[in-house]
């Protein structure tokens, strides 16, 4: 286990996650909000394998599994990555059947806390496409809007939110 919140456990991904990983990566309702192309089963398996095979100390992208403590089910993934300005960025994707239960807020809060307290980060950012109103609502609970900008990689308009360690520790 990497860390936990009230209702969630965050752990490393394994090959046993393949079925539910595809339930996530193969769902257009999930992927359109990232936005990234919907994956085929084969692409999803390959993607999962790459995440598992990445050397933990080398990669600047850490992708972890989120399990629900209540029903012990894989509900999605969360990640620390670097944005195009090499700043720490958080991300998360939840399976559709686990939406609208407050899990997004819980994992965002968990990632921010873990990043500042355990990964020695000074600044955490998050990028979100402006059509993803649900995620914007989540991020605005904790982070501060920095800018709205065109994201040429994904060909969409994004908002970037930021939060520094000092502000976080003062608030919580």
């Amino acid at each position: 286990m990497i860390f936990e919140t009230d209702r969630l456990t965050i752990r490393l991904l394994t090959k046993e996650d393949a079925d539910l990983y595809f339930d996530l990566m193969g769902n257009p309702n999930v992927m359109n909000l990232v936005p990234r192309p919907v994956m085929s089963r084969e692409e999803s398996n390959k993607h999962l394998l790459c995440v598992i095979n990445s050397a933990p100390d080398m990669t600047n992208k850490k992708v972890w599994a989120i399990d629900s403590k209540i029903d012990n089910e894989f509900i999605g993934i969360c990640a620390f990555l670097k944005n195009d300005d090499h700043e720490n960025e958080i991300g998360y994707r939840l399976r559709e059947k686990f939406w609208k239960k407050g899990y997004g807020t819980e994992i965002a809060r968990g990632l921010i806390d873990y990043g500042f307290k355990n990964m020695n980060m000074d600044l955490i950012t998050a990028d979100v496409i402006t059509t993803n109103l649900g995620s914007m609502k989540i991020l605005e609970k904790f982070l501060i809007l920095d800018k709205e900008f065109f994201n040429p990689n994904d060909n969409c308009t994004d908002r970037r939110y930021k939060l520094d360690k000092e502000t976080w520790l003062k608030r919580f």
């Binding site: 790459c50 598992i52 095979n53 990445s54 050397a55």
Partner: protein, 170 residues
């Protein structure tokens, strides 16, 4: 492990992400030449794959274990008067270590080098600390030809290079 578990095959651009995930590892890079990038990005993988696609005859292959890409193996054919010789080089991604994969991959490419490429000699240079790789070569009938004393500088330290060879018996 079944014999069919390990195969070598040409690399495809669709291997880019998997190749980068495995190659982007200091423990792998420590045993390789400095010309291999570190850190290793997907663009590096794409560059390498495109390079191997231009080879004629094919000299570099992906190694698969139970269908999953797990490493790379090459025979670099030498030029001029050395053109009947090739240098063998290979690496296995860390999650696939200690399964005997390299032994089988070296066996397959050695056979390819002697039967298909009609090489007379295949040789390898191994850094003194890479005992696992020496065992892989010895398991395949490669003989130690000598030790090139202080031939290598890697991670700012000087190392001996152990040289192995195998000859085409036919």
């Amino acid at each position: 492990m079944n014999d069919q578990d390990v195969n070598i095959r040409p690399l495809e651009l669709s291997d880019k992400m998997a190749l980068a995930a495995l190659a982007n590892n200091k423990k792998v890079w420590d045993n390789l030449r400095d010309s291999i990038p570190h850190p290793y990005h997907e663009e590096d993988a794409a560059f390498f794959i495109n390079l191997t696609k231009k080879q004629n005859p094919q000299q570099s292959f992906g190694i698969t274990y139970q269908g999953e890409l797990c490493g790379v193996i090459s025979l670099i054919i030498k030029k001029d008067v050395y053109k009947k010789s090739a240098e063998i080089g290979y690496w296995i991604g860390e999650p696939y270590w200690k399964k005997g994969i390299a032994i089988k991959a070296v066996a397959q490419i050695t056979k390819y080098g002697f039967k298909k490429l009609n090489l007379v000699r295949i040789y390898a240079g191994v850094y003194e600390y890479n005992i696992a790789s020496m065992k892989v070569l010895e398991s395949n009938g490669y003989l130690k030809e000598g030790i090139f004393k202080k031939a290598v500088i890697k991670n700012d330290k000087i190392w001996d290079e152990h040289r192995y060879y195998k000859l085409n018996k036919s």
